[in-house]
Symmetry: none
Subunit: 189 residues, 4 copies
């Protein structure tokens, strides 16, 4: 995930990365970010502490990767998807318990630690933004692009992450309707 994997020496264990990230997600759900320990991750994944440190330098790095790892496929939606599908992908991705804990942990740390902010911005926030932009492209709205990002991403975050509610079809349709007045079945005038 990190090093360019030089050719000399014994190669890294195959499933080790996955085992570690799985452990991270499980422990995140159980104990939260501040209760997550490298020691615990190593124990849970049956790996030596040094093996974890060899692959990730920081708890924050590790957590970001753990989230990205599950989100990546969902970010890679087909290019011609309908706005509903894109939004549904985002909502579904963030609804996973592990993602929920991890995402909140990451943005919370990012507000305070520039390193985490940097990494989170490129690996988490930007892909989300692109998803929302592709959403907007298919929607007839008068709202400015930057504000639209705040409105759509914010509504999803508040609904799913902060309030912990399920992001069902009604929510998705309602949100799209709220930003696009002329949309069929929408709430606008």
């Amino acid at each position: 995930m990190t090093a360019p994997t030089s050719r000399r020496g014994r190669p890294r264990g195959a499933g080790t990365d996955q085992a570690i990230l799985d452990a991270v997600r499980a422990l995140l759900v159980e104990h939260g970010y501040s209760g997550l320990t490298i020691e615990g991750v190593a124990a849970r994944s049956g790996v030596a502490k040094s093996t974890v440190y060899r692959r990730w330098t920081t708890k924050a790095d590790l957590v970001v990767d753990a989230v990205v790892d599950t989100l990546t496929p969902l970010f890679a939606a087909p290019p011609d998807s309908a706005p509903e599908d894109l939004l549904r992908a985002l909502v579904t991705a963030l609804s996973q318990p592990a993602s929920r804990a991890a995402f909140l942990a990451v943005i919370s740390e990012a507000a305070v630690d520039p390193m985490v902010h940097e990494r989170a911005a490129t690996r988490l926030i930007e892909p989300s933004r692109r998803l929302v932009e592709r959403c907007s492209a298919g929607v007839d709205t008068a709202i400015d692009g930057d504000l639209l990002f705040d409105v759509i991403a914010g509504a999803v975050i508040h609904h799913v992450l902060v309030r912990g509610l399920a992001g069902d079809e009604a929510f998705i349709a309602g949100l799209l309707g709220a930003v696009s007045p002329h949309r069929v079945g929408a709430a606008g005038s």
Copy 2:
């Protein structure tokens, strides 16, 4: 803040609570939630560790109280305020550096620890929600109340907390315009 202050024994020091909460806010800004230590709070506020533990049982309790302590006046806007003023109060409240770190930390921990969830919900989230509700009441919108909460609170959270941007007048006006199509000078059709 916590005990019913019985009459027996030596009474608690007068300014001690404030000294501790001040230290918490300062350290929150400097090191973030996970970097905040009770040991550090005690040292910074010139108080024995046991004195902190006597008054607050949990780091989360302490942090919630530290933030609520400064936010309360901001939440108490006059009852007949205009939506802009209410929204501005919310944005201002969340923009305080200490509040930003604390708010995110608290909702992040709340997702995992029911005790924190409980305390945060009543003391932090609910006041915010009431502010948003009073906002909605003064706005001519077609958006459903529950969704409107997600949209307004979410946009503010995303803009101010997640992206770390300043909540200036343009943002406030834009957001109100986005949810209220007929508003003068708004972005709607």
Copy 3:
């Protein structure tokens, strides 16, 4: 036990001293000297911590008094007693569980703390020494007086305190025989 009991104000509680010393002896047997806590003594005797501190300034003082309190009668053997009786009194005194713990604790602390040494010397060690001296006076021995003190007191200490054995009649008779060759029924030639 300490203050000259002035006449002003509320008089000291009657049985309080005894309650405290009883608690000390009980706790000494249960937890030893280093495990003995003023906090624990106060709790056990149903007295406030400050009441204990008002009457004794030091844990060592308290312990010495607690032991002396029970030992005094045992040291007061009739002046014309036989050596056996005197030795038996000494052995009996040191065999009390509380005395055993306290005696060792006190001589151990005395080796390091001059204040303890002072108090222990006058109240505990000296009475023991006088008992041994009266013993020696009644024994027909060729051993020098000073060495005799080491031999008799040492043997008792080693047997009773260090090894924790009961000081029965056989031991008493054996010891007297060992230092007095011509004694009837003694072990010497």
Copy 4:
């Protein structure tokens, strides 16, 4: 001193045990057993607290080892030594200020804590007993072996540890003479 020194993992630091035991002895002399702190031992020996706890589980264990560490060479006297030499070795060993404080501390705790008693019995009392027995073997005495142990060890303890006197040649010769009436130059008839 404790673990069977498995071969896995990073090996333990070479001089660390000695540095710790040295610190223990120094602090025992300065502050006594009850004033001895693991925290202080770690600081004094320039070692982390966890390193001390990794090697000894208990303050008592630590102190026992600190004493045994200085006594061991003296227990290993040549098998054909004269009684005087054996006794002199014992007296010299116990006369070191550190040994004095430590020995008293150990027997004092042993009277109260079975774990300490156990450890002290095997590592301290038994070797001492063997030393005294080898002493007895070279001495013509009529005193029973068990009582002889009490007399010789007791006299040494009382003279050196309790009274804090120097164990000079006169004391050694006098003690051997006291238990062996026919000895050349002895005090017996």
